[in-house]
Amino acid sequence: MRYLPLTPADRAEMLGVIGVATIDDLFVDVPAAARKADLFDLPLHAGEMEVERALAALAAKNRSAGAGPFFCGAGAYKHHVPATVDHIIQRSEFLTSYTPYQPEIAQGTLQVLFEFQTQVAALTGLDVANASMYDGSTACAEAVMMAQRVTRRKKAVLSGGLHPHYAAVTQTIAHAEGMEISRQAVAIDAEAAVLSAIDAETACVVVQTPNVFGVVTDVSKIAEAAHAAGALLIVVTTEAVSYGLLKSPGEMGADIAVGEGQSIGVGLNYGGPYVGLFAAREKFVRQMPGRLCGETVDADGARGFVLTLSTREQHIRREKATSNICTNSGLCALAFTIHMTLLGERGLRELAALNHSRARELRDALAAVPGVEILSPRFFNEFAIRVPGKAAEVVEALLADGVVAGVPFSRLDPKAGMDDVLLVAATETTTRGDIAAFAQALKGRTA
């Protein structure tokens, strides 16, 4: 067994040092009834080649996003990640280290987290960011919980443009905490509809831009209304590349910004692991969930970084912690930071412009297909279209043409009555050939 270094001779010698006769003497505290002498009904160990073949066979049953024209988005985006990113995150020193509890021998991880926090704060236009959350959806739920702690109010208003999964995750947590969730009707261009639901009980308003239909909104007015009511504005973004083109949440008055960072450095991974971005105004820092990395000095006065403000965290505060979170998404945050460093401000802006441009080309091509209606008035790299018939059936039909046409909105929210709405996304990986293939196939299927 290639991962187990002890030899039979080692084991015998070690049992002797311990002073017991057999390995089972070390399991003596297990109630006899619960000791399994037999192997379970599962396969025996296998060599590397056999395991590789088994996994490769499963992988081959999936159609990867890069296998042909591909237009799915809805909170996860296909982007090109430089080879350098994946190389660095696989370095032993990053991959096989733990949470940096011993800062003297974890400055690699810690400095990266400090750089990550600064990048996220810059992108969101806010003062402070934490060292990452599990993903965007859980970050959204944590933001609502944080707003409750800050405002000591129990009601959260969610826009109808919020990604349905994000809304569901937030509702799950809020329910347990006894919070009231006021989720507005699902609508394509209606972030501002939250205004009517804000009242004196409102802890926070949650809006998304670009929203789940790709629609971009200036939320400044919502911020004003929320603040006037003593509530916080939480702005959600599921496509981090959009930060390169659009006004930041902070510029528009957000108190907390949460985002899904998958687009930068991480890859699709069938939905996870991803990396949640979480930023806020400085005055709320002690109510933030998750890890924070801060600057300090060592005994010789040299600059260094440590995990800090851990009095917010569960391992110190136990039931009084701001959240139960322990694990972050460190390796994905590293990937994010490396990719963002390679991009730089210039590269990110160019990447965003390229995404936007490709999406507009896609819009123009699809708008020319008879029976197709473009539903999103303003968008970044994703928009909603109305197709004749059920979107899910159109998607299945186009698979036969080798095109993965997008995400039927009904997959995200079957109860919204939007069975004919299809979300389509384009990124820098989308070619003109992909767009033409999509338009042609759609024309053929809807004719």
Partner: protein
């Protein structure tokens, strides 16, 4: 060697990528477009590579030496698993791709679920929780939903032993429960009498770690479960230490109702400097109906995801994550399971326990084991009574280990042991490395007792940095880089 921050390298107009710029105008979004500088530096690829490689060398890692963090389970991470997770069919697979195009992924999730259920002897598993603490949340939400369904919503207390991981009480509080502590016996186990006394009709659940955080198996575990159930409460088991018993003991046979499994601990997905994790939760028949969506079911020839709270999922307590969970970790864990097989996993538990007891035996002459009698499980716990009068603290001793090339053990946890030092070697350490470790610690311990105090209080001396001022960091938090007043701010970008 000091490594500058990316913000200090003058890269306000550099980039390490090349794009074919779009020919169209930048945007039709008018006022929605950002005009102010973002403040992001860039680096060319050679500079970026060097920056991050240099930084990496400031880290300790399991690939460099023993990393005996008790309860954290730092074991070898096979690179085969990394390679498998990067197969295009997994790594480049979109979560909302039509399910007919993701059958291999769904099959893998189904197989992983089968292994987890078989290894734990439990009938159901929720795969989607993103980490151990998220799994605890899942378990408590299922318990809460079950109580609500039975008209037992008034049960508002969760019992937690003093020795528990901080996540246990934090999770209970996070979902609105009151937390009450259960006392511990002198031999490091749950105090049955105290438990019995506190098991009132108000109790929703107990949360017990087994093997517990003292590295000991809860001998009375079956009785604990019986008492809990008799009181109408559920038994949540913190499965962080499942690696000690995998293949040998099935939690389902012990009366557990819910248990999370840290895939990064028992099944060796890499820790990555703190995450990502993955925390699937196995559930009993009683709790299974309330499991969070989505889950995988086989559907005729293939597999499908149950994503909505309807039909077979009518009782679900809801959704915990966007999409379906940590697929990248599932691939790694499944590859690890196939590599070990049922025989290898059993050997994993045996070797983990053997290694821990070996360390306990070798170090007991110079340090003081917290529970000297009887074997430990996968980790050896020492207290600091042996340091009394030396002027050296647990922290000092731990920092001195750094100078010997080892990562310190877990310190001051569990809280029930004074100056605790919790050492977990895992099964992937060789006897040679254990001997090297024990010899180094023995020499250190002798030095501490011989009065060589400065070696400890000043430690580490040989690390990239000396001891860091954590108080300063917390008192005046500097959480992001800010330009010095003299720094030239980045200029606004010209329109491309």
């Amino acid at each position: 060697q000091d490594e500058a921050l990316i913000f200090e390298m003058g890269g306000w107009d550099k980039s390490g990528v090349d794009f074919d710029l779009p020919s169209q105008d930048a945007s039709d979004l008018g006022d929605l477009v950002r005009t102010a500088p973002i403040g992001l530096p860039g680096l060319s690829e050679p500079e970026a590579m060097r920056h991050f490689v240099r930084l990496s060398q400031k880290n300790h890692a399991i690939d460099l030496a023993l990393y005996p963090l008790g309860s954290c389970t730092m074991k070898h991470n096979p690179r085969l698993n990394e390679k498998m997770a990067r197969l295009a069919g997994f790594g480049d697979l979109h979560p909302m791709s039509p399910q007919s195009t993701t059958q291999g992924a769904l099959e893998l999730m189904d197989r992983l679920a089968h292994w987890l259920k078989t290894l734990t002897g439990m009938p159901a598993v929720a795969l989607s929780p993103k980490a151990g603490a998220h799994g605890e949340l899942c378990g408590l939400l299922a318990i809460k939903a079950a109580h609500e369904a039975k008209g037992q919503a008034h049960r508002r207390t969760v019992l937690v032993p003093t020795s528990a991981h901080g996540t246990n009480p934090a999770t209970a509080a996070f979902v609105g429960y009151d937390v009450a502590e259960i006392a511990q016996t002198a031999d490091g186990r749950v105090d049955l009498a105290d438990l019995e006394a506190k098991l009132s009709p108000d109790v929703a659940a107990i949360m017990v770690t087994n093997p517990n955080t003292c590295g000991l198996f809860e001998r009375d575990i079956i009785e604990i479960a019986r008492l809990t159930h008799a009181a109408g409460a559920y038994f949540y088991c913190d499965g962080a230490n499942f690696n000690a018993i995998v293949g040998k003991v099935r939690p389902g046979d012990l009366g557990v109702d819910a248990m999370h499994i840290n895939l990064h601990k028992t099944f060796s997905t890499p820790h990555g400097g703190g995450g990502p994790g993955a925390g699937p939760v196995v559930l009993s028949e009683a709790l299974a109906p309330y499991a969070p969506t989505p889950w995988v079911v086989s559907a005729g020839e293939g597999f499908k995801l149950v994503e909505e709270a309807e039909d077979e999922a009518a009782d679900t307590f809801g959704r915990m994550v966007a999409f379906h969970g940590q697929m990248g970790m599932f691939v790694r864990a499944y590859a690890y399971m196939l590599s070990h097989g049922t025989d290898g996993l059993r050997q994993v538990a045996e070797d983990a326990v053997l290694n821990a007891n070996y360390i306990k035996a070798k170090l007991s002459p110079v340090m003081s084991p917290a529970f000297p009698d009887g074997p430990c499980m996968h980790e050896a716990l020492f207290d600091d009574s042996w340091l009394e009068g030396t002027g050296v603290t647990t922290l000092d001793f731990a920092k001195a280990m750094i100078d010997e090339g080892f990562h310190p053990m877990t310190m001051y946890f569990p809280l029930v042991v004074h100056g605790a030092m919790l050492i977990e070697p895992t099964e992937t350490e060789s006897k040679q490395e254990l001997d090297r470790f024990c010899n180094a610690l023995t020499l250190l311990a002798e030095a501490a007792k011989a009065g060589d105090v400065e070696r400890f209080t000043g430690a580490p001396y040989l690390a990239p940095l000396r001891r860091l001022d954590e108080t300063l960091a917390a008192r005046k938090p500097r959480l992001t880089w800010r330009p010095e007043p003299t720094t030239v701010a980045p200029a606004p970008m010209a329109a491309e």
